[in-house]
């Protein structure tokens, strides 16, 4: 764009273009008044204090809004195989956080990457597949998966039945038996569990064992798989957890015979093992 220079002002000038625009542009010092020259828009001036203040305000409001809009945790779902991992979910059951409690759990969380925003069942599926790939779940062998839900309010989706079905549907091992122990823990239980750095499920198990006079070191309880705990301490987890009326799930028969993933079987309360 060309313009006739009308005024010079500290390295810039006011031009009149032949289509009637009065505009500002940078000028060559040699350009004389009335001379036609290319109109180059001047560089933007540094933001004024007002602009800086406005940006600051917007940023502050933005952060405030962000905090306001950030959904507060709605529920927590802990999965214990050998890795001990807890999902934090929002009201829509989208994952907002993931935490590993033990060494295996922390490693698995780092392998899972960022699952934030993904649905809970997808996260559980990923976790179980990673556990299978890492050898924490094994084809053709018995496995135990504990799933523990904590929700501040009543929510059927976080109920024991729903959680058990979800794990069973996403369970990746085709051969061998699995026992899915689904629990519910209230927020107080979860708070106590966090103090001892255990998942809610393992904390409930610890409390039940204590009540029955069985002492297992916290470090062992945190790091071992439920299956190994059963074997090494001669326990039946389903029986231990049963007396509070929590639901236990396990397959009716071997997966090999069915040729498909197991249906979830809700066991009737199993009588406590006689000592």
């Amino acid at each position: 764009m060309q313009g006739m220079l009308l005024k010079k002002q500290n390295g810039t000038g006011i031009f009149l273009t032949n289509d009637g625009t009065y505009c500002r542009g940078t000028i060559n010092e040699e350009t004389a008044l009335g001379e036609e020259a290319p109109v180059i828009p001047p560089r933007r001036r540094r933001p004024s204090m007002w602009l800086a203040a406005a940006v600051f305000t917007v940023v502050c409001l933005g952060f405030g809004a962000y905090r306001f809009l950030q959904p507060s945790p709605w529920a927590y779902v802990a999965i214990d195989v050998e890795p001990s991992v807890e999902f934090t979910v929002d009201r829509g059951l989208a994952i907002t956080g993931l935490k590993g409690f033990n060494f295996a759990g922390k490693k698995l969380v780092s392998d899972l990457g960022d699952l934030r925003g993904k649905p809970l069942d997808y996260g559980v599926e990923c976790l179980l597949e990673k556990a299978l790939a890492a050898g924490y779940l094994r084809e053709g062998e018995d496995n135990i998966v504990m799933v523990t839900g904590t929700c501040g309010q009543e929510d059927e989706r976080i109920g024991v039945e729903a959680l058990a079905v979800m794990v069973a549907d996403r369970y990746p091992v085709q051969r061998g038996k699995v026992e899915i122990v689904a629990l519910c823990a209230d927020t107080d239980v979860r708070r106590q569990a966090l103090k001892t750095d255990l998942s809610s499920g393992r904390y409930v198990l610890q409390q039940e064992l204590k009540r029955r006079g069985v002492n297992i070191a916290g470090r062992v309880l945190r790091e071992e798989s439920p299956l190994r705990l059963e074997k090494e301490h001669n326990l039946i987890l389903s029986a231990i957890m049963d007396d509070k009326g929590w639901v236990l799930t396990r397959p009716e028969s071997s997966y090999l015979e069915r040729g498909q993933k197991p249906n979830v079987f809700f066991a009737a309360p199993i009588p406590a093992q006689e000592e």
Binding site: I14, L16, N18, D19, G20, T21, Y22, C23, L33, G34
Partner: protein
């Protein structure tokens, strides 16, 4: 006279067409009159004052010497030639009055160095242009308009500008409206609306911009460079 006709007549006049030359001179008698009067700073009359005759001769000379490729509007060049010839005349008159006799003719002297003189005129055109721009800024300030505010007031859309340029031309020929402007009265938006065909809202919004352009179009002899620059 529009630019196309002027260019055509100039070309023909330079090729020796006497009719074209006469047409040009006749068409620009008022221009010549205004330039001479502004230089003499007194009222003049055709047939009585020598200055006007000098102006006519100078205009004719401008037709001869004009070079379109220099990118200077013809009328600006003609104004320079007229002013230059008048300046020579005044110097000559002063010498004649002081010595009591006419010495060497300044005109003859200039004729001897015509090429150098013409080159001087072309160089002088840059200064002439700058003076015109300063004059325009002063004219704007008389109406309380600054170039800085016009930067912000210029319509962004080309169509709007074209419409306002057309309206400014219509406004420029309205003596009464312009006199009211001169008295710094409020712009009679409704009247201007009727004259220009623009809505009162557009006129009110672009009042200063419209006036800034109208000033250019109202004084084609005074703002020759600006007039020739803005698209008609």
């Amino acid at each position: 006279m529009d630019g196309g006709t002027l260019g055509l007549l100039l070309a023909r006049a330079k090729e020796g067409d006497a009719d074209a030359r006469n047409t040009l001179v006749e068409a620009h008698r008022s221009f010549i009159f205004n330039v001479v009067v502004s230089s003499c700073r007194r009222m003049l009359q055709w047939g009585r004052d020598d200055e006007l005759s000098i102006g006519l001769i100078a205009f004719d000379e401008a037709v001869t010497r004009y070079e379109p490729e220099r990118n200077v509007p013809f009328l600006a060049f003609a104004r320079l030639v007229i002013k230059s010839r008048l300046a020579n005349y005044f110097r000559q008159e002063v010498r004649r009055l002081s010595s009591g006799a006419t010495n060497i003719s300044e005109e003859n002297l200039l004729d001897d160095t015509a090429a150098a003189w013409t080159e001087f005129l072309w160089d002088r055109s840059a200064q002439d242009r700058a003076e015109e721009i300063q004059d325009y800024e002063e004219a704007l300030s008389e109406f309380g308009i600054s170039l800085d505010e016009l930067v912000h007031l210029s319509p962004k859309h080309r169509d709007s500008r074209m419409a306002l340029i057309g309206a400014a031309k219509a406004l420029a020929v309205e003596n009464e409206l312009f006199q009211r402007f001169g008295r710094k009265e409020r712009l009679p938006v409704k009247k201007v609306s009727v004259k220009t065909g623009l809505s009162p809202k557009v006129i009110e919004k672009n009042r200063k911009y419209l006036l800034a352009l109208a000033i250019i179009f109202r004084h084609p002899d005074r703002f020759i460079y600006l007039n020739s620059y803005i698209k008609r």
